[in-house]
Structure formats: C-alpha cells, structure tokens
Symmetry: C2
Subunit: 476 residues, 2 copies
C-alpha cells in the first residue's frame, strides 16, 4: 500500500477499466459472495471474510488495493455510529472497496430476503438462546424492547479506517457502481425484493383518513435485480400485527429492528398497486463517518458527518464529501434503498439490500482552501451536473444538545422544515462566498434565480432540506 495522500486537486488514476476490478464487481453481481481472488486481510477483519487484492499500478507511487467487504454478523454494527468500534479494515486514499449492505427490514419477509443468504442469515439470527447481533441501537443493553432499545435501526457495514485521515480533513467517497442483492432462496431465484414500511415514525402516521386510523403497513416490492435503472413493482402488503420476538417481547408497533414477522399472524393482500412501476434509483440512505462528539450516536438522525441523510441522489456516479471528525474517519454505509421520493414520506424507501463499489480519496485540511471543500461542515454530494448542499433542522445536534440527557429526543422535538430551509440557505450562501469568493449580494441573487431547494426527508428526526446547485452556472 502506498502512503500517497491526495491533495484537493489530485485526480487519482482511475481503475475503472481494470478488467479484474470490473470482474470482481461482476462476480459480486452474480453471487452473494463468491471468492473473488483476493486474499483474506489479516487480523479480526480477515476472519470476517474481508479480502484484499492489489490493483495494477498505473502511476509511479500509486499502489492501490481493491477490498471486498461482505455483510455478515462480524462486519456490521446495528443502529449506531461509533468512533470506538474496531475498524474492519484500513485503507489508503485511492483504494477501492466493494461493500455489501443489508437492509434492516429484511425480516419483514424472511423467505424472500433472508432465507438461503448466509450473510443475511448470520446478521438476523435470533432464537430463544440469543441473537448473533445483540445490540441494536445506542440505548441501554437492558432496554425492555431489546438490547440497544432500537434507538437507531440501521444495519451498518463498517467502519473502514482511512489511513492518514485526521479531524479537519475531508473524505471523498465515490460511488462507482451499485447492484441489488439477489434473493438467496431458490424459490425466488434471480429476483430481488425490498420493503416499504409505512411506519409510526412516518409523516402520515397521525394523519390517516381511513380506518383503522392507527396502523402500520408493510408493502413488499420486487425489484429488477439485473439492471440499475429499471422498475420495482408491489407484490403484496400487510398491516403490522403485534409480533412476539424470540425472547418473548411483544412489539405492538415497529419499535425494534429485525423482529422476525410471523407470517401466520398477518393478512397478505396481493391486490396492491397493480400495474404501477416505480423507477428504480438505487442508493445508500445512510453513508458517512463517525462523529467525535459522542461514544455512540444513534444511526437515525443525520448530522454534519452524514449518516442517515436519505438522499436518493447518493447512487451510482455520485460522490459524497464528509468532514472528517475523528482519526481514520471511520467510514460506514448502510440503509440501502432501491428507490425513494424526496421526503421519504411514510418513514422508509423501498428498503432493499445493495452492494456498492466505492473509492476513497482523502483531502487534507491544508489543501482545502481555494477548493469547493473549504469550510465543509456538512455532507456535500456531487453528481455529473449538480452539487447538493444538505441542510438540517439542527446542523450538529450532538454538539447543540451535548449537555442534554437525550440529544436524540431534543433534535426530534425540533424537527421542522423551516429551520432546515434556513440551514440549507445558510450553507449554500457560505458555499458561494467561501469557495467562490462571491459577495453576499451575489450569492443571494444567484441562489434565488438558480438554486432549487427540495425536501430530502421528514422522517429521520432531524429533517432535511437540500439545495441543488447546477454546475453549469459556474464560469467556464
């Protein structure tokens, strides 16, 4: 591995035409986890099935690797970010990783989304004797709902330590490709499924107009597993009924992640959205780095380090930039989605396991002035044609409510699109003033006539408004 650290202007050699890299990702596309020719990494991570393969050097001083990170009970943590988790692997700036992610809603349909998939089976294993992954969320281990209390729900793959990353740096993460995870059950060979749950944390929950006025509804979608921009169709739906977990705890609502749904207790309705086709735009709802402020942060509210910001634009071809908050950055990804509308209204997208191919580029603090990454204290996305600034009701709730006994409850109680809009405006103005040297008057006029503000999500506690800056406006 190299000790090369990118400067902000660095364009790494691209390995995208590397036949082996393509081949390895294609292998991931064909099977859940076949050997891809890499050798196990050393230490604990190696035991979890993480492999490494050197990539052919294209440029003097560059010796990059491609890692493969399967999702299993040893490579994921559930419901939280933490700077203190032992990293799965350590990578250099410029390295690639193919990373499997698994949706926390898989147990809403065990047969379609877990059965026959060894990785998913190991993650969700739970019987009267125990769970493979006990902690789910940042809550206490003796929480009455279950260990961790479901205070944070997402199955997160990682963390990945980026060598050389220090607080104040910026981590660039390029999403080179995505693939849906096929069902491991021979009965559903070649198919992929996803879950949409209209849940108690959804925007609609206290505003239903048909009876029963209090209900949660799970809709199972079939997603085309072969392409990336095809469609998803509803298969059936059911209303959540009280579920008793293997430890005997009853869950009258969806209040703890990964509870196996006993399909003998539900009524399946196959007459659902007949003929409707949802355009698929695969993306990662949760992606980011660990915050310095706390030992353990719920995975639910997004924050300045990214996390669960739920922007559907975070898919193939998109690049995310995160302010590094702790040594090594501690990159984590999860909450895979096949599709989501801006707002993610009912609380979830089509929650669908995905594998992503990523490249990591580290930008050192000293190299940031004069670049678009200067003064970055929020997750910034870049697509081929756009830069996307993310505003939140509370820009950094962990700092703002550091003295509170329950920062998550504090941020949830303040959820508002009005404050998220103000934050998105403040950040966008700062972006133009600090990285483009515009006056405030110039920035404000430019924003009003050319920047589109959209509603990222209204369901993650810390609500989001994003600002879309078209790159075509910039001087050529």
């Amino acid at each position: 591995m190299s000790d090369h650290i990118c400067s902000a202007g660095c364009t790494h050699s691209s390995h995208l035409n590397d036949a082996d890299l393509q081949g390895e990702f294609a292998e991931a596309r064909r099977s859940l986890r076949a050997s891809i020719g890499g050798k196990p990494t050393t230490g604990a991570a190696g035991k979890a099935g993480v492999t490494q393969r050197p990539l052919p050097s294209k440029k003097a001083g560059e010796n990059f690797s491609h890692y493969y990170v399967p999702a299993n009970d040893k490579t994921v943590h559930w419901g939280y970010f933490s700077k203190s988790i032992e990293p799965l692997l350590k990578v250099e700036s410029g390295d690639y990783a193919t990373i499997e992610t698994v949706t926390h809603h898989s147990n809403d349909d065990f047969d379609r989304m877990i059965k026959g998939d060894p990785g998913a089976e190991s993650i969700f294993h739970w019987d009267a004797k125990g769970k493979n992954i006990d902690r789910r969320g940042m809550g206490p281990m003796d929480h009455p709902l279950g260990a961790g209390g479901g205070m944070g729900v997402h199955v997160c793959t990682g963390p990945i330590f980026i060598n050389g990353a220090e607080p104040g740096d910026v981590l660039e993460v390029r999403c080179i490709d995505t693939m849906q995870r096929p069902s491991g059950n021979p009965e559903f060979h070649g198919k992929t499924f996803g879950i949409n749950a209209a849940a108690n944390w959804g925007f609609q929950y206290n505003n239903l107009i048909t009876e029963p006025k209090t209900r949660e509804v799970v809709t199972v979608y079939e997603v085309d597993a072969k392409g990336d921009h095809t469609s998803a169709k509803a298969v059936y739906n059911y209303r959540w009924t009280p579920q008793t977990d293997p430890f005997g705890v009853v869950h009258p609502i969806i209040d703890y992640p990964g509870v196996p749904v006993d399909h003998s207790t539900i009524q399946k309705n196959y007459d659902v959205l007949k003929g409707y086709e949802i355009p698929v735009r695969p993306h990662f709802g949760l992606i980011g780095v660990a915050p310095a402020e706390v030992e353990m942060a719920s995975s639910n509210p997004p924050s300045y380090t990214g996390g669960n910001f739920d922007n559907w634009r975070m898919g193939r071809g998109a690049t995310a930039f995160f302010p590094v908050s702790v040594k090594g950055a501690m990159f984590t990804v999860g909450d895979p989605h096949a599709s989501q509308g801006d707002a993610e209204l009912c609380g979830t997208a089509i929650e669908c396991s995905l594998t992503g191919l990523f490249q990591f580029i580290l930008h050192k603090k000293a190299d940031l002035p004069g670049t678009k990454l200067y003064d970055l204290d929020y997750p910034l996305l870049e697509t081929e044609s756009e830069l996307i600034v993310h505003g939140f009701s509370c820009p950094n709730y962990l700092k703002e409510f550091a003295n509170s006994a329950d920062p998550v409850a504090e941020v949830c109680s303040r959820a508002s699109l009005n404050t998220a809009m103000t934050d998105a405006f403040n950040k966008t103005r700062r972006f133009f003033m600090n990285t483009r040297n515009l006056s405030e008057d110039e920035a404000i006029s430019l924003i009003s006539v050319s920047v589109d503000f959209g509603i990222t999500q209204v369901v993650d506690g810390n609500w989001g408004v994003h600002a879309i800056i078209k790159k075509s406006i910039f001087p050529k």
Copy 2:
C-alpha cells in the same frame, strides 16, 4: 366562434402547425406589437388593441380563434384578482391567445425595460399629475404609500372570460410557447433584461451576515432574447436607496410597485457574478383564475385558484388546470420570469417581461369524475413527464380567514413549510385515492417511494410545497 365545450376526454384539433398562428407568434417575437392581421375585437377590449383572427377549421363543429392581447394600461390590472373586472375578451373553449405580460419591476431600470416600449410606457406612466394605472394592490385608494397600498404587486394581463365556464368546472390552460420581450430602447436593440430584487419580503432579509445588515439589492440581468433555453448574465447591481415617487412619497424600502428608480441616487456595481450563466427557463409566476370569496384579492399570496404560485415549471409545454370559482373563470396571467430556483429565495426571480401563447380548454363539472381533474381544488400542473400538485401553508386562506379584517396578514403570519408539506401530502394522497382509485395504503406507499416533494416558494406569504408525480409510474 363555436359553442363547443370540451369534455374531459376531448382532444381539440391542434393548430400548432397552422402557418398563420406560428407566423403571428413569430411576429410577436420580432416586434413589440406589430399588426398581426387580426381585426380589433368589438367594445372596450377592442379599443385596448386586442385583435381576433379566425383559425381555419380542421374538424366539423370547430371554429376557433386566435386572439392577440397586448400589454398596455388598458389591458392590465395591477396587484389583484377580481371577479368583477370587465373582461378584456370572451373566448370559447379551444381558442388560442397570445398574451403579453410585463414585469412590475421594469421601473428598476427604466432605460433598459420601459423606454421605447409603448406598452410598458403606458403601464408605468407616472408624473406629478397622475398615473395611468393608479390602483396598485387591493388596499385603499387613499393608502399613504399610494393607491391600493401595494398590497399586491403584479402587473396582470386580463381577465379573459371563458364562455360557458361555471363554478365547479376546471379550466385547462396550455402554455404552447413563450418569448422574452425585447428592449424597446434602440441603445439596447436586440437585448432583453430582467430584474432580481433581494427584497424585504425575501427569506434572507432578517438573516444577512455582512454589513449593512438591512438592505435590499437589485441585480439587473441580460437575458438572451432569441432562444428559450439559453442563459442570463448579471449586468450590474445596486442597493436600494430611498426613492421619492412623482407624488412626493418617499419609499425607503421596496414597498410599492412601479416606483421609478432615480439612477442618480444609486451606485451601480458592474463587478457582479462575472462569468456566471443562469440557465433560462421562462415561465409565468402568476397564472390563474378569479376567486369567488372576495371582490378583490391581493395578487401576492397564491391560493386554490392559482395566482402567484411561482413554479418555474409553468413554461413552454406545461399545462395548468385551475378549479373555476366564478362564471367565466376570469383568467389572468402575469409575473413573468426568465428563471427562478425552487424557493425563489430572495423574493423575486429574474423578473422579465414575456409573451405567451396559450390555448384554453374548458372541462365541465359533469365530465370530471374518472379523470385526473376530479375533486381538483388547487392548481395542478402537467408537463411531458410529470404531474405537479401544489400545497400551501393555507390551502384556501380567503375562505379560512373570511371573517378576518385582513386575510392576507393572517396567511402571512402562518407561513410555514411544515403546513405546506402537510397540505401537499394531503392533496397528493387524495389525488391517488380519488382519481386512481387506490387505497390509502397504496397511495401512501407510492408517495413515499416515488413522489418528490420540493419547495416552490418561501416568499409569497402563503408558502408552497409541490409534489412531483412521475407519469411513468402509472399502469400502461
């Protein structure tokens, strides 16, 4: 003229390939107001320069007309909707009209945007002896700021009476084409200009970070006058200074529309947004029909009958649908924009006079069940690929605050994206349930996984959130 009234399924003959229709619009493109071969309509409207020309009949029973409606002091009303204004002309369902609209910000740069343009000159004429258009806004005629009090600011062309339209019907307005209005001043031959004002009603006004903390800024843009999808560039900007109008009233802020700005009192800064190019997306910020609830409604807050809803998608190729509230619908259009971002953050777009070619189609109430127009009580937009539902902080503030002394102050005091989001959700759910026969569970899942919610505007008193439904989701 025909007595043909469209049913909801009716597709009128298109005259878009009619050489004369194209020729007349092209004529409008070349000059401000040349004779286009039509004959003056009779009555008062005829005197205002409105002309009519029969279109060749393509189908038995159809005899449509193309009207040309210039903008001048006789064809516009300023700052309000009213069911009681004498209509400019009466059209049949199926008729076309080329309609000139003039921005109310023209006097921010008289030389570029009024001088040499007889229509604009007649609208803005104001000297110590009087104004051609005295009332500007729905306020009292003896308001200290000026007649009408500037309670409503937009120069509105219309109203147009649609024969046969009754409350409960839906008026479809197809925007077939748009053109920018060229400067009438020989010094700026072939050029078009627009104004962006970062004004006191903007989202930024109480949140400025550089000195002086209280200021309004006018930025003058040059807009390519030839094409529709080209770019705009800033020419110069200036900070608003107290302006004394011809009646001697001092305007320390932008508090009354059409006040001539004395350029000897301002400091022009030409070092503004050098090299930045704003994509032009010409559209009408204000378009709609008259509400039944009041004699006179401010043109500022949008409502269920449309009006100033400020969606940049309302341009060429878009179709708007409005619930008819009064006999004849009383269609009005204005507030032309060269470009705007979703949010219209600083209070204005690039305010730029435009001419539009429209076709009117009337859908009778009895024909609405089973169509997308059933139960419509808000402005619905349709583009080639999308249907766009408009939510507001207050869906119908004129009804909601009917007993208030000042309904506009009431709605402004309640401006919130949170309530606008709820309204957009409620309407979108109703749309799917009532026009597509989906269950509430189906509607909510579909919305969450496929509908994008955006921020239309945060500056018009009644804030807007729109929901974008992709037409590709519907069963084929």
